[in-house]
């Protein structure tokens, strides 16, 4: 068989290339469908949050928040609500947004302009004690993160580096408790907290979460990778165990510690069932529960609800955009799905 390229070979190659190009295009098309599906709800949330209550009721809905305007007597545009349209006579009955009588104008006098109603955010914020909710969530999150870091480092160190009777069995016992779903321990925990008198206090939201078994697991795993020789050398040099933990182990475990911080923050910020059960009044109520209550109270003021949803998720979203890789990695490692 000759080795020169025939026309047939060229045609086959061209066919392959074309199929390949089509496949590539298909891949990107598929990926972009996914992007659109993921993004549209977020866009819709923001768009709705910037609309006026009247505009919300329009169907078909507008994609961009728009206001209707007519030219007022002094030549500047004034915003109006369209009460009704008379298609045949090509007129409409309008009413100024600030208030005032209804009047009829010609349809051509009305022009639309993009109108972003940021005041919705202010109004939503004021309709419920969101400042308090925000403070509560931040307060609780800070303490829980600090607590988890401290308790997990200490416990992981003990499990990784110290010898004591039943060490591995106790560790397995801890791990097995991780597998128990929340509905099982939330009911008895509630009773424990009632007995302690901690219902509706910060203690109920913070203290039970100061230890996190999975974090202990992760840190212990990492601690075990630090060579024994390093430890022995330090001990011989007179280093205390705690100093070794503080000056050597922890700095070497920065990546794991960051991961722990991240999934603890996200988990605490977004937690819902636990605070829902353990709090009753706005004093200690965290953001997510407050937001849920707000949505139940508002019922139909969708622009306010969307505004509230937006400012409730904003901090995490902003953080996400700055640290996507770490956050994704951290949450994927933690096995956190909800």
């Amino acid at each position: 068989m000759s080795t020169e390229t025939t026309q047939h070979d060229l045609d086959v190659n061209a066919g392959h290339r074309a199929r390949k190009a089509l496949r590539r295009a298909g891949v990107y098309a598929g990926l972009w469908v996914g992007i659109v599906v993921m993004i549209v709800p977020f866009y819709w949330m923001i768009a709705t949050s910037l609309k006026s209550p009247i505009e919300i009721l329009e169907f078909p809905p507008t994609w961009v928040p728009t206001g209707h305007y007519v030219e007022s007597t002094d030549g500047s545009p004034s915003e109006v609500y369209i009460v009704s349209r008379d298609v045949g006579a090509r007129t409409a009955v309008v009413r100024a947004v600030e208030g005032g009588p209804e009047r009829t104008v010609g349809a051509t006098e009305i022009f639309d302009r993009v109108r972003l109603r940021f005041s919705n955010y202010v109004e939503a914020w004021n309709q419920a004690p969101f400042a308090r909710y925000y403070f509560n969530t931040i307060f609780v999150t800070l303490f829980v993160v600090a607590g988890v870091l401290v308790t997990s480092s200490l416990a992981a160190y003990a499990f990784a580096r110290m010898r004591f009777w039943g060490r591995d069995n106790i560790f397995v016992l801890f791990l097995s408790m991780m597998m128990v779903p929340q509905p099982v321990y939330i009911v008895p925990s509630y009773i424990v907290l009632v007995k302690l008198g901690w219902i509706d206090t910060y203690q109920a939201l913070i203290i039970p979460w100061l230890a996190h078994i999975f974090s202990i697991f992760l840190l212990r795993q990492h601690f075990k990778t630090i060579p024994n020789d390093l430890y022995d050398a330090a001990i011989i040099d007179g280093c205390s165990r705690f100093a070794f933990l503080w000056r050597v182990m922890l700095p070497l475990s920065k990546a794991v510690l960051v991961a722990v911080v991240i999934f603890t923050i996200v988990g605490t910020w977004n937690s819902f069932l636990w605070p829902l059960v353990m709090t009753n009044t706005p004093e200690v109520r965290p953001l997510q529960v407050g937001l849920a209550r707000f949505s139940q109270e508002q019922g139909t003021n969708h622009e306010l609800m969307m505004a509230a949803a937006a400012f409730s998720i904003a901090p995490l979203i902003v953080a996400y955009f700055f640290a996507q890789k770490q956050i994704i990695q951290s949450l994927a490692t933690s096995g956190m799905k909800s």
Partner: protein, 324 residues
């Protein structure tokens, strides 16, 4: 120090020091995990209102539980939910991960966007989707009308989808038992898939990227078609990851609560209770006015039993097909 001293040091100091280091985490774990988990079992035998024990009920509480039709319907609803979420989520996320693994440019961009819903709070997600599913003003009905269909009631629709499909086809009769999950439940399933898919995509992607190139090169040399490459190389080597995603998605789905509570929430638990899943049933029976926490504990333990059984079953049935 001498040999003797060093031994003494280890035998006594270690356990003592260890105890000290373990106390912070240990106390929390004991008081807020061990004791509750241990007493959950005990609790389920008592009638408990408002945190106060009111009497011993024993196994009768479980009997009452198993005789409550609402319990069984919640179980059925949960089963429908899990059956709806798990296969679809698995399939879609695997598909997306495979696409992303095709040496795509700006992989990070796609991954970031797909993962965004996972980072967003469930409360906000539920609120936004509830608005999208709005029967009169919602985006989804607008979309439906745009492509020529009629609008649906979504989260307020109690009718089963099979029954609805039969109606759409013009059949006026459909067996009651086969009505299927309600459209409302389907709406909740859609939200769950939307929210969780990014997580599974990331896991699958990691699994895919762990497959050494040599296998693909060998397959290419042997002239394998893309389909053969997938089924003979990718799928078997991905099976540990697939198994993990299957198991974790199932376990999480069984415990669904927040979306149900927020999108079809109190007082009813969905249109005619058709979205009342087991954790919602538990919440209602335990924490609503006049709640009996002993009863709720019993429900929780039954749920745990189911999850445990399912985990074991999945391990036996599926794990043998996993190539390690």
């Amino acid at each position: 120090m001498s040999w003797l001293e060093s031994i003494r040091h280890k035998k006594i100091m270690d356990p003592l020091t260890a105890a000290l280091y373990l106390v912070p985490a240990g106390v929390i774990v004991i008081v807020f995990r061990m004791i509750p988990i241990g007493s959950a079992f005990l609790l389920s035998f008592f009638d408990v209102k408002m945190g106060r024990v009111r009497g011993f009920v024993g196994l009768a509480q479980y009997a009452r539980l198993f005789q409550d039709p609402t319990f069984w319907s919640s179980l059925g609803t949960t089963a429908y939910y899990v059956l709806g979420v798990v296969p679809l989520s698995l399939f879609l996320s695997l598909f997306a991960a495979v696409l992303l693994n095709q040496k795509v440019r700006a992989l990070g961009f796609y991954r970031t966007v797909y993962f965004l819903p996972v980072v967003t709070s469930l409360v906000a997600v539920s609120m936004v989707w509830k608005w999208i599913f709005h029967p009169r003003l919602g985006l989804l009905n607008y979309f439906l009308q745009f492509i020529g269909g009629g609008s649906l009631q979504w989260l307020e629709e109690p009718r089963g989808i099979f029954e609805m499909a039969a109606g759409a086809l013009g059949w006026s009769w459909w067996p009651d038992g086969l009505a299927g999950p309600s459209l409302a439940l389907i709406a909740v399933i859609v939200v769950a898939i939307w929210r969780g898919i990014g997580y599974n995509i990331v896991i699958f992607l990691a699994g895919l990227q762990n497959i050494p190139d040599q296998y693909y090169e060998a397959a290419h040399i042997d002239g394998a078609s893309p389909r053969q490459v997938f089924w003979k190389v990718t799928w078997p080597l991905l099976s540990p990851t697939t198994f993990y995603v299957l198991l974790s998605t199932t376990i999480v789905s069984f415990q669904v609560f927040t979306q149900i509570y927020l999108m079809t929430g109190p007082p009813v638990g969905g249109p005619m209770g058709t979205t009342k899943v087991i954790v919602y049933y538990l919440f209602e029976k335990g924490f609503d006015a006049g709640g009996n926490m002993g009863y709720a504990s019993a429900v929780a333990l039954v749920l745990f039993g189911i999850i445990l059984t399912l985990t074991l079953v999945q391990r036996r049935v599926v794990e043998r097909r996993v190539y390690y």
